[in-house]
Symmetry: C2
Subunit: 109 residues, 2 copies
């Protein structure tokens, strides 16, 4: 009801899509940041994650995450507040998100 953008239902999340969404350093950093700070807005996430990309590129990455079912976005005024869809991800791919969040040391190579 209060949803203003598309989010795939939990039963439609697919492993290839989720993995593809996470297989990008910028998006991985985004997910880690979101896990750390909880709910946050696009620009704030970009800042907190230290991502040096253009606004449109950031928007693109956030769309990939959202359409893969990794993040949830609610509109609050002029902002989009994002959260991780932890429960949905855990329900569909148990242990996956935790494994990724706990592999912090291995992200850059």
């Amino acid at each position: 009801m209060s949803e203003e953008v598309f989010h795939p239902p939990v039963e439609e999340l697919t492993l290839p899509k989720v993995l593809a969404a996470l297989a990008d350093p910028a998006r991985l950093a985004t997910v880690r940041t979101l896990a750390r700070v909880g709910e946050s807005a696009c620009g704030q996430i970009q800042h907190d994650a230290g991502l040096q990309v253009s606004k449109s590129t950031m928007s693109h990455h956030l769309r990939i995450l959202r359409e893969a079912g990794i993040t949830y976005s609610r509109v609050q005024g002029a902002r989009r507040m994002l959260t991780l869809r932890r429960e949905d991800l855990d329900a569909r791919f148990p242990g996956l998100l935790d494994a990724i969040l706990h592999s912090e040391l291995a992200e850059t190579g």
Copy 2:
């Protein structure tokens, strides 16, 4: 010593590369098959996984998996015998491989 092809050392495995390698249905099927049957040769894996691609495409996918550090390949006669690098993956990304292998129901969407 007996290695005849390149394998990245465990400390050089990176999460984006591993996730990218797994973010493909054909390669995911390959990994699941390898987890199920243990050691197997390229052609046999392709058959067991039910992959309908050309030989060169299969070879390409197997190279991606090997270079991401997901599989180990040893030469035995005319064949390459492949195994999952379970221990290395578990050491570097604890829980990741298990999470992926246990998500069998969610692969196709």
